[in-house]
């Protein structure tokens, strides 16, 4: 095989890889944060919310470096992403602005705020008060790192 043919093949391969890497994903969790490094210890920058479309620029293990449609970049864990395009129904409030209202239209059939409302109607003895209270107990990544540091728990590879 000539050097030129080899070069052309490598170029083609790189092109294919770039095409694969440019795959579009959607954020499938209510809200999460972009990280500066591909690690749960990585400092967080901006938050992204359910349905945000992102382009994957780079992959490292379970981490994806993504660029959101507004240009922000950062690392997200693969569990926050789906290949499906998620849409919010017109008129419904953004999920990020009403964490406890759940007025988001969920893609696909199945369990949703509407179904939960129906369930509550049919099961008046089932009380969601504690479940709603639990949802408000959020520990930020910074608080988590401070908790580890205070307890002198050192992740392998360095201080949190």
């Amino acid at each position: 095989m000539s050097r030129r043919t080899l070069g052309a093949l490598v170029a083609l391969l790189l092109l294919c890889l770039t095409a694969l890497a440019a795959q579009q994903f959607s954020v499938q969790v209510r809200e999460t944060r972009l990280r500066q490094t591909p690690s749960y210890l990585g400092a967080t920058t901006a938050s992204v919310t359910y349905g945000t479309r992102v382009t994957v620029l780079e992959t490292r293990g379970p981490w994806r470096r993504v660029q959101a449609t507004d240009g922000r970049t950062g690392w997200l864990h693969e569990s926050a992403l789906t290949e499906r395009q998620l849409t919010l129904a017109a008129g419904d409030r953004d999920v990020a602005t009403g964490a406890d209202t759940d007025e988001i239209a969920l893609a696909g059939k199945g369990f949703s705020p509407e179904v939960e409302r129906e369930f509550k109607k049919q099961n008046r003895d089932v009380d969601f008060a504690w479940v709603d209270r639990m949802a408000t107990w959020n520990v930020t990544p910074d608080e988590a790192l401070a908790f580890l540091a205070e307890g002198k728990v050192t992740p392998p590879g360095g201080q949190p």
Binding site: V29, T82, L106, G110, F111, E116, F128, E150, G151, K152
Partner: protein
């Protein structure tokens, strides 16, 4: 055997095998033998494909609403422990561990709540709502041991073990669908309506969490995941060993909670011992012991 029974039995066989290919072969045999019509065979195959996808197709947001309803249902039987300090500590520890799990991101995130019960029990609801009894906390004499308990429950959430309970328990329901399809050739909407029934799904999961328990394989998987998460965060995974030792001392095979739903601590220790090799013996930490005691001594 009547044709209807044959249709139901064939449906049951292929669902049990859990494979649409098996279904196609089996129904083809049924058709060629004249036992069922091609129309009935197509119905069975459609049902099998629907069931195969039942739990893997559940999206994180659907999982979230299933988990909320499961947790609310469980809280009707197990009251919450209204102790803000203890619950805050539980969440700092649990949510920190969840960050390092194989599935750090769920739709609504991981949240932890203490239950006011002496029973040794914990429930990992789909999506990340984790309920832990006072009785299980009493099996922990250190933060490292409690971290092992929470990491185990996070392992169940990350592995979607609760959702798998839907698949297992719904074979009976699926059989009904197959029978109905075989008998009346109901449309796809009927199948969808049946498989989307939230109440039935919650029943499946709570039945598994409260009464049946997961398989020993899934408990082993959760313990293995716990060892991995603890190691990634920097806790000594031997906290799991410490907790299981204390649980074994309290173990009564006829007792409630974990004693009905989990393998014995001795069996779990045997299953997890290989992955603990190489870790130093657990050492007490003054600072962790102090905050553990401050948060939980009074509960």
């Amino acid at each position: 055997m009547s044709r209807m029974l044959l249709v139901i039995a064939l449906g049951a066989a292929v669902l049990g095998a859990g494979c649409s290919q098996v279904s196609k072969i089996a129904t083809q045999v049924g058709v060629s033998e004249g036992a069922i019509t091609q129309e009935e065979a197509d119905s069975i195959n459609r049902s099998v494909v629907a069931m195969e996808k039942a739990w893997t197709d559940i999206t994180p947001e659907q999982e979230h609403y299933i988990g909320r309803a499961v947790a609310a249902t469980l809280l009707a039987s197990y009251p919450a422990l209204d102790d803000a300090g203890a619950n805050a500590y539980l969440n700092r520890l649990g949510q920190t561990l969840a960050l390092a799990s194989d599935r750090p991101e769920t739709f609504g995130g991981y949240h932890f709540l203490l239950l006011d019960s002496d029973e040794i029990n914990a429930f990992a609801c789909p999506g990340g709502l984790v309920l832990v009894t006072r009785g299980l906390v009493a099996c922990c004499d250190s933060e490292d041991a409690l971290a092992a308990v929470l990491a185990h429950e996070i392992g169940h959430v990350a592995g979607k073990h609760g959702l798998r309970a839907i698949k297992a328990s719904r074979l009976t329901s699926a059989l009904t669908i197959v029978a109905a399809e075989g008998a009346r050739n109901l449309g796809g909407e009927d199948l969808a309506r049946l498989s989307d029934d939230l109440e039935g799904t919650i029943g499946d999961i709570t039945q598994t969490l409260v009464n049946n328990g997961y398989s020993r394989d899934l408990e082993r998987a959760a313990d293995t995941a716990a060892v991995a998460v603890l190691g990634r965060v920097g806790y000594n995974p031997r906290g799991l060993e410490s907790m299981l030792d204390r649980m074994q001392a309290r173990w009564k095979p006829s007792g409630p909670g974990f004693m009905q739903t989990h393998p014995s601590p001795r069996d779990r220790l045997a299953d997890v011992s290989a992955s603990l090799k190489g870790f130093a013996p657990l050492e007490a930490s003054t600072v962790r012991q102090a905050r553990f005691a401050a948060a939980l001594d009074g509960i």
